[in-house]
Amino acid sequence: MLLERLSNAFGPSGCEEEVRDLILEAIKDDVDECRVDALGNLIALRRARAASTKRFPQKVMVAAHMDEVGLMITHIEKEGWLRFSNVGGIHSRVLTAKAVVVGSQRVPGVIGTRPIHLLQEDERAKLPRIQDLYIDIGASDRSRAEQLVKVGDYAAFATKFTMVKESTLRAVKGKAFDDRAGCAVLAELVKGDYAFDLYSAFTTQEEVGLRGAQVAAYSVEPDVAFVLEGTVCDDTPKKRDVSSVTQMGKGPAITVMDRSVIVDKRLARLLLNSADDLGIPHQFKQSVTGGTDAGAIQLSREGVPTAVVSVPSRYIHSPVCMLSLSDLEHTVTLMTEALHRLEGGLPE
């Protein structure tokens, strides 16, 4: 399964090569042109396979980001401990006592923590700060550590993709579903025949500020864009009758608004109508927090009508996420239908 290989790949923001190579291998036979731009985005073109009935849109861009949140080594202590900083949004509470791999040699390491025996009463209620944490690669001193790791090296969570015991939700767990889920969906969409040029943009550095998408959109100059995401899913136990952002197993989540974008209403309607007519389960992303590549793409040049579709993913920005393969497959079906309907132009 492509999602499994993508999830297991090492790819913090700015270090997306391993992910990119996997995607390139998966899609190269289905696209007419492929290039890697200055920021490392993989931009693949599949030309129109049918004559269009409309003059608009001619170019449609679908984007998913390859990068994941991770860590970067900032300092090596003389005892061999690696100090680090976060790359993208990671809260320190998900870091302690986690297995990671570091640098180009993929050195295994552990983010150290003190056992409960040694914690004072007041320390137990406190959260550690990232600057107080360290990665332990078992090196006896700095010079040993430096043979394996350099300052500036990246670290990623060492999580292996696994099928969860059979369930109706067909759940899988692994790291970086934000946004390898989107990449997996996009790699499927690439195979479709459309009456417009389809530009698949596998972007870099989303987690540090939508940077890859900004330049990809500038060069592609699309008429319409979609962004595929692995988004927050918090359908976990709650005390009050308040919103879940999304729920696992309830289908792809359609965004109306988040911090970065107010989705084009025509595209949102196109997605909703596609889902309703085909009976595809779907939901709204019920929160206005978070941002995606759509924020950068819609503001490119003179503006681009843009929409966002997400695969609900529990526990994103942590060492292990969980999603439903049914949601993933429904996202492919929904997007395929929406893209075909787009051949007739934007709805009024």
Binding site: D241, V256, M257, I262, F284, S287, V288, R301, E302, G303
Partner: protein, 331 residues
């Protein structure tokens, strides 16, 4: 002009849902413009052609206003919501909001553990008077804005959404009054200013102007125990020098000041410590655009009752018409 201001202010138009405002403005300006178009983000761009000897000037005022967006509907049919733009919970409780389909909702608040503290947004909800969840006339993703009638108090006017319908009114009136200009003047009514100057960014790229002027509201320091600020209602159009998003191009600032002096119009200098306008996005478009901001002093910005002085509005129109009537040199 008061009737135009009334209609603009009372129209529904939270960020991302500017269609009704755009339709109203389009009706007003179509007969006055040489060219009108709507760009990909929804901004309305009207061109009044010059005689060919001048510059390409972009005037911008934003059509959108702050509002709320439904994020969740509970079992009893109460709506939880998020903010569209800079919304403060303090001014929300008891306020009424209206949706695109005309449905009105009242903002209520949960029982508070600490009533002396301003509650956060997640303690508030909207009640549209539904007796059951099944018959709700609105859904998740729908946006609403304040609903409040325009009040004419003589010199002073009070309404919702003067931020920035008052700027839209000024642009329309300038277009109406401006008979002759050397410049190609683009009157741009932007979208999504309140959520991050988004419409101005893409429309400025599209227009590619030589000079930009945003027309927007600014806060004042003339109310009881206000944060100190040297802007007063009725003291004339405010010419911006700085806000938290931009430093005004000195040439454009001088041009505004010199024009006011030449025409004998009152004006005041504005330094805004918090907040910004479309001018911030326009000045960094492409290779950069010399940009200034003409502000209308406004009390109670981002509340359901914003107040302006009508004379400031009229003088802003005169200032811009005077500026656009002659050659522009930025020194």
């Amino acid at each position: 002009m008061k009737e135009l201001i009334r209609r603009l202010s009372e129209t529904y138009g939270p960020s991302g849902s500017e269609t009704k405002v755009r339709q109203l403005i389009e009706e007003e300006i179509r007969p006055l413009s040489d060219q009108v178009r709507v760009d990909a983000m929804g901004s309305l761009i009207a061109l009044k052609k010059g005689d060919g000897s001048g510059l390409k000037v972009m005037l911008a005022a934003h059509m959108d206003e702050i509002g709320v967006i439904i994020t969740h509907i509970d079992e009893k049919g109460f709506l939880r919501f998020g903010a569209v733009g800079g919304l403060r919970p303090l001014v929300l409780i008891g306020s009424r909001v209206s949706f695109a389909n005309g449905v009105t909702g009242t903002i209520g608040v949960e029982k508070l553990d600490t009533p002396e503290k301003t509650p956060s947004l997640d303690k508030l909800f909207i009640d549209v008077g539904a007796v059951s969840k099944d018959t709700l006339p609105v859904g998740v993703g729908d946006t609403a804005c304040f609903t409040r009638p325009f009040v004419d108090q003589g010199d002073r006017l009070t309404a919702k959404a003067f931020d920035d319908r008052i700027g839209c009114a000024v642009l329309i009136e300038v277009l109406r009054t401006l008979t002759r200009t050397p410049h190609d003047v683009y009157f741009v009514f932007t979208v999504q200013e309140e959520v991050g100057l988004r419409g101005a960014r893409t429309s400025a790229y599209g227009v590619n102007p030589d000079v930009g002027i945003a027309v927007d509201v600014t806060t004042t320091g003339d109310t009881p125990e206000a944060h100190p600020m040297a802007v007063v209602l009725g003291n004339g159009p405010a010419i911006k020098v700085k806000d938290s998003g931009m430093l005004t191009h000195p040439g454009v600032k001088n041009l505004l000041v010199d024009t006011a002096e030449r025409l004998g119009l009152p004006y005041q200098i504005e330094v805004l410590e918090r907040g910004s306008t479309d001018g911030c996005a326009m000045q960094v478009s492409r290779a950069g655009v010399p940009t200034g901001v003409l502000s209308i002093a406004t009390r109670y910005v981002h509340t359901p009752s914003e107040m302006v002085d009508y004379n400031d509005v009229l003088n802003s129109v005169k200032l811009l018409v005077g500026l656009l009537g002659g050659p522009i040199s930025l020194t």
